[in-house]
Amino acid sequence: MLDNSEKCSMIALNFLISLAFFANDCFYLGGYMSKLSSVIASSIALISTAVFSEYGLNMTEGVTSISRDIYSLHMMVFWVCVVIAVIVFGAMFYSVFVHRKSKGAVAAQFHESTKAEILWTLIPVVILVAMAIPASKTLIDLEDTSKAEMTIKITGHQWKWQYDYPEEGISFISNLAKTSKNSLKTDNKPQHYLLEVDKRVVLPVDTSIRFLITSNDVIHNWWIPAFGVKQDANPGFINDAWAKVDKIGTYRGQCAELCGKDHGFMPIVVDVVSKEDYAKWVAAEQANAAAAIASATKTWSKTELMTKGKSVYEANCAGCHKVDGSGIPPIFPAMKNSPIANGSAAEHIKIVLHGKAGMPAFKMLGDADLASVITYERNAFGNTGSVVQPSDVKSAR
């Protein structure tokens, strides 16, 4: 991998420097121009070496058979392009340097050659067929999700991901982590800025996993580069993809389809763990889920609801309606003095559950979360609405 990125960097450097030398050598523009171009060339070279030592230049191989196949296809096509480029540009630059009037070149007058033209039609066809064969194999393999051992369902929402483990009965929402949210406008960025979530997906290693991908509102795209999985999440339709990860670790990705305002702020983080750790995680999540159901049946105090409501609000609602409830009118109305937050509770619950126009539905949140966030919206920002209990939400569903 290091070799390849070094090669890449050399190519990039040569490319930029050759452009500058092209300026310098072949067209005389006076001394100032040649000085300028060598200064540019050397400064680009300096910046570049500093950068190349630290940052990725190339696709990574990833941790699944698919991602490795994709990587080798990518490198194969890349090198084919490099070879063609060297030949074609070599001929072009040779001609540019040698066949110039200032060197006394006299123009030939030939203007066709059937042989040459047939040759440079057929050779590319052969090269393309040679590339198409491995590409087809990989494509057929990555589209075959039939050998999956387990399934998770991924639902895109504006602007967060929902994960459901249907066989295990686990369901949760994954938002951009607070550490990133709080440092958008500061210089002090956390590690994994914009690539950290408040709740990670956990998956077992060495297991074929089928991803069922869909959306609740607009089109999103679930992408983990290291898995070689990138699939559109279409509202109303379910797409599938698969991965069998053979290395324990944390893998990060992002939404890869423009989905509105906070498209850049819905990362994906997956912890791939041993099968034993995965079983432990499943047990713990199932216990949490049972506790949540129990808490939804009790009656909550207003303080409890407000405290929980604030954190739910900041994770789910503040992106549009703002932390201080001022919103971004007219697209995203203010919470402060809102006729809905100060009006009928039933209407308020209905809008949060099912959405309205640009406002997405939030029925994927639990009863306790919804009751607390609605109570919070009705009582924060100087509002004077009523308190809503989880049982109210449950009966409104």
Binding site: M33, R100, K185, G264, A357
Partner: protein, 535 residues
């Protein structure tokens, strides 16, 4: 260009005086000029939006704007550059050059020509006015995928739809005019295979426009009814399909890509033989390659949609068809290089732009081939690798050819020479900065940076900064370009009728500044043959 009017015009009235000349004109040269200035104004506006994008992306973090405004910038930058700058610029070049190249006195439908231009400022004005509307301008990307552009879009979207309809009318009328001119107004002694390549590429482009623009009109009309009249073409809850939108959009969108590059191929096929002092190599294969590319452009659209959940058979087909385009495109590149081979080359400014076009467009072609490999596209799709790819073909491809054409034919348009030294400085400034701007974006994309994001994680910081600095330098190069063009119009030294030693073509037989009315009598067979660049 308004000075020095009818000096060479013995038999006809010159242009009208004053502003009304431009409103009422039916003269192909005047209308060409209007198109070019309009396109240039749009280029500057679209460029200013791009400067906003690159400023926000200079460093990680949200410094200047909220993400909603960032999305408006990327959307409007794309729309303005595609529909406001590149397409009208080529129609402007076509208007100016095609009648002169085929020995016709004017376009076939001069009043429609006036109308198809004058729709544009209104369409552009409506599009730009959305920035000042409640909820802001369209913020769903220039590809406006439903349902983000329907259910979840700002109210200004209806104005956007109207503007797209107007732009479509204008393009279709422009295309009809060019077809009618080439087929009906061509000098009687000029056979189809005598026509210069710019005429051929524009003729084929016109058919692409007539085929593609109504499909776009259909897409936006379905959006309009989905948004306002309760239909559900693209809404799954009503039995529609959001992926169908993408099929319709790209059935327009892929031919559109070639609408923006075929005339560029034409321009380069004029400039290279001129400065190589050698006939164009493989003229007829150039014509056939152009036609093949145009045909293929209609059957590859879903290669933009490999990740939408297409069946594997569909993906295989679209991958193979896409790879096939590399063949005729390769033929063109080989022919240009063969034209240069054993020529007697000089490197005046138009040639610099043309040679760098061949080099940089081909780099965009290579990344295009890589993107066509469906499994690899999984990793490239919607990343900065795609952004780098289409800017290499559209900026250092389409725009490069427009600038090359401007320097090449500016003497014929104005009767004056531009400042060659300054123009060379401008070329090197632009060609270096454009690569600093776009080349690092390949690395960003491969390392995993999605496109259309206002902020990014820290590992992308350095390349983004390099790219932004390149962007500011490239943007500034257009100040110099503006100066060079205006300086040429105002103070340029008089040009000769044939300012380039090796230039051939009927347009060079006209006065140094082409007469207001040219080819009132069609050129003879001998003249057509002796001015051919390919025999």
């Amino acid at each position: 260009m308004t000075t020095a009017t009818a000096s060479h015009d013995e038999h006809h009235h010159g242009p009208e005086k004053g502003l009304m000349r431009w409103v009422k004109t039916t003269n192909h040269k005047d209308i060409g000029t209007l198109y070019l200035w309009f396109a240039f104004a749009m280029l500057l506006i679209g460029g200013a939006l791009a400067m906003g994008i690159r400023m926000e992306l200079l460093q990680p973090g949200l410094q200047l704007m909220d993400p909603h405004f960032f999305n408006q910038l990327t959307t409007m930058h794309g729309l303005i550059m595609v529909f406001g700058a590149i397409m009208p610029a080529f129609v402007g070049l076509g208007n100016w050059l095609i009648p002169m190249m085929v020995g016709a006195p004017d376009m076939a439908l001069p009043r429609m020509n006036n109308w198809s231009f004058w729709i544009l400022p209104f369409a552009g004005g409506i599009l730009l006015s959305t920035f000042f509307m409640e909820g802001g301008a369209p913020a769903f990307g220039w590809t406006f995928y439903a349902p983000l552009s329907t259910t979840f879009a700002p109210d200004s979207t209806d104005f956007f739809i109207f503007a797209v309809h107007l732009l479509g009318f204008s393009s279709i009328m422009g295309a009809i005019n060019i077809i009618a001119t080439v087929l009906n107004m061509r000098a009687p002694k000029m056979k189809l295979m005598d026509m210069p390549l710019f005429v051929w590429t524009w003729l084929i482009t016109s058919f692409l426009l007539i085929g593609a623009m109504p499909v776009l009109a259909g897409a936006v009309t379905m959006m309009l009814t989905d948004r306002n009249f309760g239909t559900a073409f693209f809404d799954a809850t009503g039995g529609g399909d959001p992926v169908m939108f993408q099929h319709i959009f790209w059935f327009f969108g892929h031919p559109e890509v070639y609408i923006m590059i075929l005339p560029a191929f034409g321009v380069v096929s004029h400039i290279i033989p001129t400065f190589a002092r050698k006939p164009l190599f493989g003229y007829s294969s150039m014509v056939y390659a152009t036609a093949s590319i145009a045909f293929l452009s209609y059957i590859v659209w879903a290669h933009h949609m490999f990740l939408t959940g297409m069946p594997v058979a569909g993906e295989l087909y679209f991958m193979y068809a896409t790879m096939l385009i590399a063949v005729p495109t390769g033929v063109k590149v080989f022919n240009w290089i063969s034209t240069m081979w054993r020529g007697s080359m000089t490197f005046e400014t138009p040639m610099l732009w043309a040679v760098s076009f061949v080099f940089l467009f081909t780099i965009g072609g290579f990344s295009g081939l890589m993107l066509g490999i469906a499994p690899a596209d999984i990793q490239y799709h919607d990343t900065y690798f795609v952004v780098a790819h289409f800017h290499y073909v559209l900026v250092t491809g389409a725009l490069w050819s427009i600038i090359a054409a401007t320097f090449y034919w500016l003497p014929k348009w104005t009767g004056k020479m531009y400042n060659e030294g300054l123009a060379k400085v401008h070329f090197w400034w632009a060609v270096i900065s454009v690569n600093v701007l776009f080349f690092p974006q390949h690395f960003l994309g491969l390392a995993g940076m999605p496109r259309r994001i206002p902020d990014y994680s820290l590992q992308f910081a350095d390349f983004n900064m390099i790219s932004s600095i390149g962007g500011f330098a490239f943007g500034a190069s257009f100040i110099l370009f503006t100066y060079i063009v205006i300086d040429c119009i105002r103070n340029g030294k008089p040009a000769t009728a044939r300012p380039w030693e090796g230039a051939k073509g009927l347009e060079w037989t006209l006065a140094p500044k082409a007469q207001y009315h040219s080819f009132n009598t069609p050129p003879s067979r001998e003249l057509i043959k002796s001015e051919s660049q390919h025999s």
